[in-house]
């Protein structure tokens, strides 16, 4: 059983090695064949033809972090759901009720976030237009 289980993944490994080989070959080809005439301007970051101002390492909106945190919460829940969904037919109504309680608690949190404005990308006052 164990032998069988692992052996079904061997083709994937072979396939992945081939895919990496293809991707690597493409990168190597463009490196070998393409011409190389570097100039300082060519090698500077693109800013619509103007001289680049400052560094790109600047603070950005905290909203992106909030989305990432929310994603982790919901994705963990999605993992639970996938496992539960596969065996729900064996669990029957009991499984449904248990998961409903879990989903309800999660949705309470979701509604709270919604009301707190975590999901609003633009600040409320600037959205009048």
């Amino acid at each position: 059983m164990n032998q069988n289980y692992l052996s079904s993944y061997v083709p994937i490994l072979i396939y992945f090695l081939l895919a990496m080989g293809v991707a690597g070959a493409i990168m190597l080809l463009s490196w070998l064949i393409g011409p190389r005439k570097p100039t300082p301007t060519k090698l500077s970051p693109y800013e619509c033809g103007m001289l680049p101002t400052g560094d790109a390492r600047e603070p950005f909106s905290v909203k992106f972090y909030l989305v990432a945190i929310l994603f982790i919460l919901f994705d963990v829940e999605a993992m639970f759901l996938i496992v539960w969904a596969v065996v729900l037919r064996q669990l029957g109504m009991y499984g449904f009720i248990i998961m409903s309680i879990f989903l309800f608690l999660l949705m309470v949190g979701f509604v709270y976030e919604w009301k707190k404005g975590v999901l609003d990308w633009a600040p409320r006052q600037s959205r009048r237009g």
Partner: protein, 405 residues
């Protein structure tokens, strides 16, 4: 060495199948670009690519060569040279990898003395594998945006990271709806579970009981692949080209190949989950037996179209090439009449026909819909798709549990 290979023919078979699949996939990606340009052109009353080969059929080849001979620029101030070079590599390798577990048909055949099916790997958690690998694709985008150390790529990378993880939730919740009905994570069993008909004519595809999930899945799939109307990561009017602004030559092409490979994977997945994969839409009765010849007949019709074109085109080279394509297609049509090929081609034919329909929809939406505003995009994902998908899971699970008891 040769002795070792002869003792493990299944490894050689796996390698062969993997090689064929990668070749087919890369060709499909190249011709997806052609298909998109051509279709959008016709929607906008233009001709699209027409010069390079008959109907521009050699355009992908010419584009590839052009990319090959472009200068490979690596900026002086990239944050990390390794990450900068690793990002396109990772994008493409992962985009290709996702197709490895897709089954293309139910039939088995003999190759080098080993019985094998129309897939590279048949694992019992195929769906989980596809979801995992496609969601790793976000790393390519983020690493590219971050390592370029330039403002447009950084903004594009951030945006697409936020977008991709947001829509991935809707995608996963929509999949749960299908899992409740199918009760398995194996793609092959999910398709097998959709065989048969309701009331004698309506196929038992998941799209009918799970229509809400289908809509959520497809919309989220479009958003996952960063396609219009969700193509904010590369919004040309504000971000130049988004996360791949600072990439040139084939490294730039690799991001595009990854994007198109993702489109193909998503279309395949929609077909398998909701539209019965390789199952024929016609009832499995003697009266509908003639539909077995559809692959051969359609190939022959295509060959005839090319044959007509060979006389209408003015360019001498194009005429010769068209004639050769016509001959090839005619040969394929005859080959498909062979009893073994006839049976073997049924699965792939229907799977690819349905997938082609979704590829058409992907291009169609791009030609039709304008781009979202960013706050609208996030609101659409979080406030509409996620609650809708969760509601769908709730209702479906209630029905499934009710019937199980």
């Amino acid at each position: 060495m040769s002795e070792w290979i002869s003792r493990h023919p299944e490894l050689l078979v796996a390698g062969l199948k993997a090689g064929v699949l990668i070749f087919v996939l890369l060709t499909a990606v190249a011709y997806m670009v052609w298909f998109e340009r051509k279709l959008i052109a016709h929607i906008q009353s233009r001709w699209g690519p027409y010069r390079v080969g008959p109907h521009g059929l050699l355009q992908p080849l010419a584009d590839g060569l052009k990319f090959l001979f472009k200068e490979d620029i690596i900026l002086t101030n990239v944050t990390s040279r390794f990450v900068y070079l690793f990002a396109p590599f990772l994008s493409l390798a992962l985009a290709l990898l996702a197709v490895a577990v897709i089954p293309f048909g139910p039939e088995e055949f003999e190759l080098l003395g080993t019985r094998t099916g129309l897939y590279v790997a048949d694992i019992n958690v195929g769906l989980l594998f596809v979801l995992a690998v496609t969601s790793l694709g976000v790393y390519g985008v983020v690493l590219a945006g971050w390592s370029s150390n330039s403002k447009y790529p950084l903004l594009g990378g951030l945006r697409s990271a936020a977008q991709m993880i947001s829509y991935e939730l809707a995608l996963t919740f929509a999949v749960v709806g299908v899992l409740l009905l199918a009760g398995t994570l194996s793609l092959r069993e999910i398709v097998d579970g959709q065989s048969g008909t309701w009331a004698g004519f309506l196929p038992r595809w998941h799209v009918f009981p799970q229509f809400v999930a289908f809509v959520c899945f497809f919309v989220a799939g479009v958003a996952e692949t960063n396609r219009t109307p969700f193509d904010l990561p590369e919004a040309e009017s504000e971000l130049v080209a988004g996360f791949h602004t600072e990439y040139s030559s084939l490294k730039f092409a690799m991001f595009f190949m990854a994007e198109y490979a993702h489109i193909i994977t998503t279309s395949l997945l929609v077909t398998i989950l909701f539209f019965g994969g390789w199952l024929s839409p016609f009832p499995d009765t003697a009266a509908w037996n003639f539909t077995r010849f559809l692959p051969s007949v359609l190939t022959a019709v295509l060959a005839l179209l090319f044959f007509r074109d060979a006389f209408r085109l003015t360019n001498q080279y194009h005429r010769v090439l068209t004639f050769l394509i016509c001959m090839g297609l005619a040969g394929l049509a005859f080959l498909l009449l062979h009893p073994t090929a006839l049976v073997l081609a049924q699965g792939p034919f229907w799977l690819l026909a349905k997938t082609g329909m979704f590829l058409f929809v992907f291009v169609w939406t791009r030609a039709t819909l304008p781009r979202f505003r960013y706050d609208q995009l996030m609101a659409f994902g979080w406030k509409l798709l996620v609650p809708l998908a969760v509601l769908n899971v709730f209702v479906t699970s209630f029905v499934v549990a009710w019937r199980a008891d």
